[in-house]
């Protein structure tokens, strides 16, 4: 039982991070209808900026995710204006452009920070509660991630959020009723980039910082988005948490070596059973 609880605790914080990374991808997919293959680079940028803020001004990674998210929001806006916006009506081209953008960003990271690896200390300890180890650093990361998801859901209930959902539903009709869809897309891209950067910032003390560190979180995020139902934020949250917990359970009960393979296998099975993803059917019915 203790092992099961330990696996759940470990999986929840990991899953929360998956969910935050995936939610940004889901936002873009839901609104711009493209897969953003530069998403991992915003995660990396968040980690690099966190490292720089710490080593330059001593800003703790515990709170530097806030300014990091803000800065990357504007970086993502700029990326949208320069790369995505001009191509936004050509979805296939945009997908390729995001891939190029991601590679360009990785190259810029190397120019700015060199190809060297960087490390940050964790600042919070591990505590034991009833025999279960709780890594407070991971728990903090998970809580902030869940908080962000909560804020995202609240935003989606606001007037702007409803406009966003309406534009996602039918951009052409939205434009005819006066919604500036182009601006919404730009803000969505900025917000998604900021979410990825916050995830990278929060994870920076637990990972090694280097130019391609965002690739794997992006791949996992894409898997979460697919399972959750393409472009569905609720689905991203549920699927992210589920994937985190499943990965942890596989690691504890079967083998840590099988985590990746079995996680992917579970995704394939889930899609075989529900081809539109967990929330895909709801999304389709909504339409």
């Amino acid at each position: 039982m203790l092992v099961f609880v330990q696996a759940l605790v470990s999986g929840l914080s990991q899953g929360a991070i998956y969910a935050v990374v995936a939610s940004g991808l889901a936002l873009i997919l839901g609104n711009l209808k493209v897969v953003n293959l530069a998403h991992g680079s915003f995660f990396t940028l968040g980690a690099y900026l966190t490292y720089t803020l710490y080593t330059t001004w001593g800003w703790s990674p515990l709170y530097s995710w806030l300014p990091v998210g803000g800065v990357v929001f504007f970086v993502a806006l700029l990326a949208y204006r320069l790369v995505i916006g001009p191509l936004r009506h050509r979805r296939t081209t945009v997908a390729v452009a995001t891939l190029g953008l991601g590679m360009l960003m990785e190259s810029i990271f190397i120019i700015i920070w060199s190809p060297l690896h960087y490390y940050l200390r964790t600042t919070l300890p591990v505590i034991r509660v009833g025999g279960v180890r709780i890594n407070l650093q991971e728990a903090y990361v998970g809580l902030i991630a869940l908080l962000l998801m909560g804020l995202l859901f609240v935003f989606l209930k606001t007037r702007s959020g409803r406009a966003l959902r309406f534009a996602a539903h039918d951009a052409e009709v939205a434009e005819t009723v006066g919604i500036d869809v182009g601006r919404l897309h730009m803000l969505t891209f900025g917000g998604a980039g900021a979410l990825a950067a916050v995830a990278g910032s929060l994870m920076a003390p637990l990972l090694t910082i280097h130019s391609t560190m965002g690739r794997m979180p992006m791949v996992i995020g894409l898997a979460v988005v697919i399972v959750g139902g393409m472009g569905n934020i609720h689905g991203a949250l549920v699927a992210g948490l589920a994937l985190g917990i499943i990965s942890s359970l596989v690691g504890f009960y079967l083998s840590p070596a099988l985590v990746y393979i079995l996680s992917l296998a579970i995704i394939v099975i889930a899609l075989a059973l529900r081809p539109t993803g967990l929330y895909g059917a709801l999304l389709r019915r909504d339409r």
């Binding site: 190259s107 060199s114 964790t122 090694t208």
Partner: protein, 390 residues
């Protein structure tokens, strides 16, 4: 593009001429070209930067001292990107287009095995600094004539496991735990280490210490360490995951000694993030501590490039370059056959010791020999000591 940026960032580049006459006035004549194969882009890009920095530093010295029999030495870099295919393509480019006299590389074993074939087909000398796969030796032993130009400087998996095994035995532990990435290299290393330690009745405390390199989940491994309490935990992954795992082991309050195969654990900046930094050891080819050439090299490199060396790829790349240069100095004419003969028959001094190549073109890395490697313990960030051999 990333490769070009890395090379530009390093102050080097493909086709760059090092230490020509105008700069040094020390060497003239037709330059001798060394082809350097390494990842300069992707997840292993940092290795490419390291190698370019080492080549720049050492070849400047060589050229200032008159080059090789009066000829300057240059290097040309090829980005293997961490893949076997690209390593082969770049090896072909360096040989056919750049017309290098000798190749040094690559980094990953799968890359190296691929370029061995290119070097053998083209009859170009290849010096392998690090790739540890036993397949390199097996191929040379199977067909020594075909691979007569291929030499490895670094330790192979068997030698590595035995050197680390000797240190583990010196600690008189009743069991050990092995943790590594679920990749072929780590599995082979684990098998070699288990075989060696089993001969000395030191069993593994737990069997399932492999994690997915793509999606590492460390808590189950920490749980196993906690449950089985091995006398020492061996981290078989030379990359970033070992540092991340070591951080988590200590965060979890486990005081078990940690012994890494080396690599990133030798980076003082990485070590500084492991708290508490007690009983953390790593294997290295050579390390500072005796005010000798290794100390000088480490200090000079850090002053020049601003980042520390780790005692593995950096030392073995240094020694590979010095061996290549020395071999070229010993021949009348720099031809593949003359170089191969000089390498096969000579003795070469490096930072790690004196190198001689056996029939499988492998130096005899082992405890008690002149090439025994060292085990280093972190005492504090930026403070370390060699603890093995005693």
């Amino acid at each position: 593009m990333a490769a070009a940026i890395v090379l530009a960032a390093c102050g080097g580049g493909a086709g760059q001429q090092q230490g020509d006459d105008d700069e040094t006035g020390a060497a003239d004549g037709e330059p001798i070209k060394i082809g350097v194969l390494s990842p300069f882009s992707g997840p292993f890009a940092s290795v490419g930067k390291l190698k370019v920095d080492i080549f720049n530093l050492l070849l400047a010295d060589v050229n200032e001292a008159g080059g090789i029999n009066g000829r300057p030495v240059t290097f040309v870099a090829g980005d293997s990107q961490g893949t076997a295919n690209e390593a082969r393509n770049q090896a072909l480019r360096l040989i056919d287009q750049e017309q290098v006299d000798l190749l040094v590389g690559a980094y990953l074993s799968e890359e190296t095995v691929e370029i061995m074939e290119v070097a053998a087909d083209r009859g170009i000398p290849l010096i392998i600094p690090t790739s540890a796969s036993n397949e390199v030796n097996a191929r040379i032993e199977q067909d020594p004539e075909r691979y007569r130009h291929v030499f490895r400087v670094g330790y192979n998996i068997t030698q590595w496991a035995q050197m680390m095994g000797d240190f583990i035995l010196s600690r008189d532990v009743s069991s050990y735990g092995y943790v590594g990435a679920n990749i072929r290299w780590n599995q082979e290393f684990a098998e070699e280490l288990a075989r060696y330690l089993a001969e000395h009745n030191v069993p593994q405390a737990f069997e399932d210490g492999f994690y997915s390199p793509s999606q590492p989940v460390f808590d189950p491994i920490i749980q196993q360490i906690q449950d089985t309490q091995p006398g020492i935990v061996v981290l078989g992954d030379p990359g970033q995951n070992a540092v991340e795992l070591a951080k988590r082991i200590r965060q979890a309050g486990l005081e078990v000694p940690i012994f890494s195969v080396g690599g990133q654990m030798g980076d003082e900046r990485a070590a500084a993030t492991i708290q508490p930094l007690e009983e953390v050891y790593f294997q290295a080819a050579s390390w500072m501590g005796d005010d000798g050439p290794t100390d000088e090299y480490f200090q000079r490199f850090k002053e020049e490039y601003g980042y520390p060396l780790v005692g593995y790829t950096d030392v073995l790349t240094h020694d590979s370059i010095m061996i290549a240069v020395e071999a070229m100095r010993r021949v009348d004419e720099v031809t593949p056959d003359a170089l191969a003969e000089a390498l096969a028959e000579g003795e070469f001094q490096g930072l790690a010791g004196t190198y001689t190549f056996g029939p499988d073109h492998q130096p005899p890395w082992e405890a008690g020999s002149d090439l025994s490697g060292v085990v280093v313990q972190w005492l504090a960030p930026e403070t370390s000591q060699r603890v093995w051999p005693r």
